[in-house]
Amino acid sequence: MATTLTTAGGRHLGTLWAYRGLVMNLAIRDLKLKYKGSVLGVLWSVLNPLLMMAIYTVVFSLFLRAVILPDYWALVLAGILTWVFFSTALTAASVSFTHNANLINKVAFPYESLPIATVIANFVNFLIMEVILLVVLVLAQSVLHRQVGLRPPAVLLPVILAAILACGLGLSLFLATLTVYFRDVEHLVGIGLSALFYVTPVLYPLDARALPHGAARFIPYLRLNPFSWFFESIHSVLYYGTWPDWPTFGLMLIASAAALVGGYAFFMWLRPRIPEEV
């Protein structure tokens, strides 16, 4: 059983590769829909995270004084962009089988292309935002502090982004498949993400010195959340400009590989029945 599943999985990856043109076309479709009405669409997708950054910065740093860090806005922006990728990609991908039932029913094609394309479209968007982020960081550092904005650890950024992509792909395949069987997963994903947002160090570092008195005792528990490993790594290389905590970095790599392999295996396990159940 295990070996047949493995060979089927391998063969299926070959099919998926043959359909790479489809994945690309679907991703382009997603991006086009997102940017429909062109100028305003692009503008909005840039403005949205900036606006969120401004709000969170004001609320958490000035108003609540929950996080005390220099240039706190930069940490918020780096965190928000990654979070927006995870949440929009997973929300959209979780319904990509159920909302395309008529396609999966009627056409023989590797339908994992659907969630994969959704994730890729969101990832392309994320990459564009990361480039803008890097430019903003470099400019701000040189203007505000007359320093070089990026330090050597930033070379790890591509590795972290790749891990984020792998994790997004795996979770999307898992959620899209699960939604076929449980229609309310679509809503649960939304609820889960809102809850996760606060227990994941998106807007704060897992650093006792930056957090209010008494918050330190929660840090070990928060570290158990696999998402925290991604955000800690991102914050290290982009905000602090330090090499990441290597065990955390390693855990992140393992978690992303596990998510990718696990999500794909879960999909392959239930794949034969999806056209009937969807």
């Binding site: 043109g21 489809l22 690309m24 396609l103 023989a108 449980f182 229609r183 309310d184 997963v185 056209p275």
Partner: protein
């Protein structure tokens, strides 16, 4: 063999009560109540390269499941399926079309869904457009297309995926007459080039015309398979028995809303040239059918059928089976069908007039007046049956005149 099914079975779950959400499943500790139903049991069939298989049978007989298995959309629970060569499914034309996309963008998306690479799409793009005859509007959004145009585009993309095995489900039942003809022409070319087809159609006329081999399915099994004509005729016979209604040619619904040509107001005329709704048995009758032509037709076929008011099919014929060329038609006109003597028994009859695009589509009329003209036949006799056969009695007082 291009298609080979060996002991293929497919099982579905039929839910009486289905829990589709995590909440319900957690509450009830199960996915619902279902029974397993075998949609296909031990189906084996083989289709040679270059041959066309037709699947006929009632709804739920397993035809579509078989097609979806051949198209590799579904996976069998038991048995083995082998399809050699590139298979393309025409189960739905234009699957995944985006209304906001232009025709051009939709070609790219749809073709890649059929498994074409970018390079293949670019190479065949011009052919696809010219086949679809949408050159002028290819850069306008799909939502501005008529449904016929969308269908043409979908068909154009599908045929240009250059399949070796084609899986077709009722595609020919949609679209206007011109589109149907185009499909049929292409299918003929495809067959001529050695392509293999598996198709489902309720249009028995098309099945008889197009298929080499026909499999008649009932409750997930093949009950009879063989040369097309024989199987289709046997099936029609069976359906007639079951329904008691009885028209071989028009078991299925009349055509779609696309009228390229229209039947005008039909008149039944007696020997004096008067419009009538009642005549005496054995008298001549003329069915006068005016038609309006909105779009020129090359090979239209006109048919007239007579049913008794209890549904019994008495007689039907059309211009094609009688060897008459009605077309080409490009302007309005009139057709008369004359019965020199209408040898019906006394009773009430219903006359139908049907107009077809051509002889291959004589199950899906483009316009029809189904049992719309009531005709009362007066007869004195008390003989019985369906029609009065010409006859005379010879009475002989002895056995001497007996012919050996």
């Amino acid at each position: 063999m291009a298609i080979e099914l060996d002991g293929v079975s497919k099982r579905y779950r039929v839910y009486r009560e289905r829990y589709r959400s995590l909440k319900e499943v957690l509450m009830h500790h199960r996915f619902g109540e279902w029974e397993e139903r075998w949609a296909l049991r031990e189906v084996s069939l083989q289709v040679e390269r270059g041959s066309t298989l037709g699947l006929i049978g009632h709804n739920g007989a397993g035809k579509s499941t078989t097609l979806k298995l051949i198209a590799r959309i579904l996976v069998p629970d038991r048995g083995r399926i082998q399809v050699s060569g590139r298979a393309a499914g025409l189960l739905e034309l234009g699957a995944g079309f985006q209304p906001e996309y232009t025709g051009r963008e939709n070609i790219h998306l749809n073709a890649s869904l059929m498994g074409l690479t970018r390079r293949e799409i670019d190479a065949r793009f011009d052919d696809i457009v010219s086949f679809s005859e949408l050159d002028d509007v290819i850069d306008t959004p799909l939502r501005t297309y008529s449904s016929g145009m969308q269908m043409r585009l979908g068909f154009a993309v599908a045929v240009h995926s250059r399949p070796e095995v084609l899986v077709v489900d009722e595609v020919l039942a949609v679209g206007d007459a011109a589109f149907q003809r185009k499909c049929m022409d292409w299918i003929e070319t495809f067959q001529g080039a050695g392509g293999t087809i598996a198709m489902v159609s309720h249009n028995l006329g098309v099945v008889r015309e197009v298929c080499d081999v026909v499999a008649w399915m009932e409750r997930g099994r093949i009950v009879r398979m063989g040369e097309a004509e024989g199987v289709v005729d046997a099936y029609i016979e069976k359906v007639r028995e079951e329904t008691g209604l009885a028209s071989g040619e028009t078991i299925d619904s009349p055509g779609g809303p696309h009228h390229d040509i229209e039947i005008g107001s039909v008149r039944l005329i007696d020997r004096q040239g008067q419009e009538v709704s009642q005549i005496g048995a054995g008298e001549p009758l003329v069915v006068e059918v005016p038609y309006r032509v909105y779009k020129a037709m090359a090979t239209p076929v006109l048919g007239v059928a007579i049913h008794r008011n209890d549904g019994a099919y008495i007689y039907g014929t059309n211009t094609h089976v009688d060897g008459q060329e009605l077309g080409p038609l490009d302007k309005d006109g009139l057709v008369r069908l004359c019965y020199p003597s209408l040898n019906l028994l006394g009773g009430t009859y219903l006359v139908s007039v049907l107009l077809f695009a051509d002889s291959r589509t004589t199950v899906a009329p483009i316009d029809a007046r189904w049992q719309q003209y009531r005709l009362r036949v007066e007869a004195n006799g008390e003989d019985s049956g369906l029609v009065r056969l010409d006859h005379r009695w010879e009475l002989s007082p002895s056995l001497e005149g007996r012919r050996s």
